[in-house]
Amino acid sequence: MLRDDGLLIKKFDKLLIANRGEIAMRILRAARELGIATVAVYSDADRNAPHVRFADEAYHIGPPPARESYLVVEKLLDVARRSGAEAIHPGYGFLAEREAFAQACTDAGIVFVGPPARAIGIMGDKLMARATVTAAGVPVVPGTTPGQSDEEMRAAAIGMGFPVLVKAAAGGGGKGMRPVNRAEELPDAFASARREAKAAFGDDTVYIEKMITEARHIEIQLLADSHGNTIYLGERECSLQRRHQKLIEEAPSFVVDADLRRRMGEVAVAAARAVDYVNAGTIEFLLDRDKNFYFLEMNTRVQVEHPVTELVTGLDIVQEQLRIARGRRLRLRQEDVRIKGWAIECRINAEDPYNNYLPSTGTITASHLPTGPGVRVDTGVHVGNEISPYYDSMISKLICYGETRGEAVLRMRRALEEYRILGVKTNIPFHQHMMDSHRFLSGQFDTKFVEERFSMDDRESSHALEAALLATLAAHEQNQRAAQIVAPGARDTSNWKWLSRWERLRR
């Protein structure tokens, strides 16, 4: 069925996944569980990646840089044609929020697993999105309207009072966003935001928004089918960010009660309806100290942090996306949605929390995932895979469920301890330190907490002695082995014998 707004809805049995990493794995699993055949694509950097091995078919689409592979619309449509894929799931990032790509799919007769191109277009332009949802009665953060000059924006900023944010109209994920505390800082902020926006989105339009201080980032997950039904699946608390990159998300939020959840949910549904939204989407809000909430933006795709909502609702959001794209009606009505328990997600990134969170590249030489009750790991990286500079630094998502928030935190601590990755530095110690932090445990944090009031410096290294001993034993073992090559007769000093001697001594 081709709708008036250009969205093609029809049953399909073969799906192309236009992405890589953990989200490609996530979609592959959902498709497999629905009995849908899968087609993966890969750049030269990803030939050995799990998503290639896990798919039913895999096609090479070019060199490592995304703009020569994962971002090339023609290549993806060509693979769809060659493989017979009838639908494309874009995941997040890459082409997920490109209006032109969604339209190109429709034009090629391929189901785009996502909203109508028009909805992407409106919500992708922050200024147009503000205007549209405002008209639907959704509260927005005070800010400037499109097409204003630097001087006009400066005047507006002074009018609304500092601090303000310079934001890219096409932005997302914190890119092209700059906080500004004084009027004098505006020119620099305009320049750097435009540079980043141009590089990231090919569009350097910026605007100004009032900065809400001590704000929490709360978002509402939506599902909308093609039959006019839109429901909300409760909120996610995503305030723990660094440089506008979310690090830890949870559901529900410590500060959202049933009444606020309902009000935010209904406003979110109204915002989605304003663009005739279909499929999964998320409305991001800022929540201030007084529990006022403001529309920030809509993400017209699946979110990285969707699993926390899955764990507390029992739903599978990616399967829902595929069902919706196939034209199915939602099975749930709003009153059937129940939030049960608590879920927390830690994004495991290849970066060094002890050294300014610098990204860490390299080959994963060991990876042992935590398992057992209440633990879920979504990963797209296995042993032998490389964390390269071409793509983002996320290795996996560790998600824990508990009956209560406290139990989810304790389980996360346990799982972080169990998780072992070698080959790159990871931010696991950051997450461990956060799980130990009183502010986090008591739910007292806002979007500035990580950057302004959280430090790794006070983290104690409790196992330095053991580390010293282990390295020494390993070095000694190596020495012994080397010595034996020189003197092959001295067999009885071999490592294992030497160890069993200690065993004999201590028994």
Binding site: T361, P389, Y391, D392, R420, A468, L470, L473, H476, W502
Partner: protein, 181 residues
């Protein structure tokens, strides 16, 4: 065999002796150490305390991962350790700290120039990699002696970017440095 292991500025003397057993800073410990066949996983029982770790050789040090924390440990036998201490005692005055690229990427900006006085933690390079801008900071107080790269340039991992002469305890003050421009 006596070893010196250094981790996070802490030194341990570890003696492995076929007769005396294992002594850490002269205290004997009951040790049972096993390597498992997969990916550097080891198991240590130390007076019945159980420590599970992953160990990997990194050239001149060892990475040891215990309960989520990564420890970089340098291990030297006693003789090598004494030798190095003797050698390194003459090096501190005119040593140069070199900021290298921690990963491949593109130089976005170089906010310092040769002759600039920098303080520990000042931004010296902005590097784009993994779709993010990353700030590289001065590892010590000192004066910029070399800038090896310029904005827009591509760099490899470990490529030198900026050299900084370490002032040691007698860092040049702002006035001296300013007059050198």
């Amino acid at each position: 065999m006596k070893y010196i292991a250094i981790v996070k500025d802490q030194e341990y003397t570890i003696e492995i002796d076929p007769d005396k057993g294992i002594l850490i800073d002269d205290v004997p410990h009951e040790i049972d150490f096993r390597r498992l066949p997969s990916g550097g996983v080891t198991s240590l029982l130390m007076n019945n305390r159980s420590i599970s770790a992953v160990i990997e050789e990194m050239g001149d040090y060892w990475d040891v991962l215990i309960a989520g924390e990564l420890y970089a440990v340098r291990v030297q036998d006693e003789r090598a350790y004494r030798l190095e201490r003797m050698r390194s005692s003459g090096l501190t005055v005119d040593g140069e700290a070199v900021v290298t690229s921690p990963m491949p990427g593109i130089i976005v900006a170089v906010p310092v120039a040769v002759g600039d006085v920098v303080r520990h933690g000042d931004k010296v390079i902005i590097l784009e990699s993994m779709k993010m801008e990353n700030e590289l900071r001065a590892p010590c107080d000192g004066v910029v002696t070399h800038v090896f790269v310029s904005p827009g340039g591509a760099v490899e991992k470990d490529q030198p970017l900026v050299g900084i002469s370490q002032g040691g305890e007698d860092a040049p003050d702002e006035d001296t440095a300013a007059s050198a421009e």
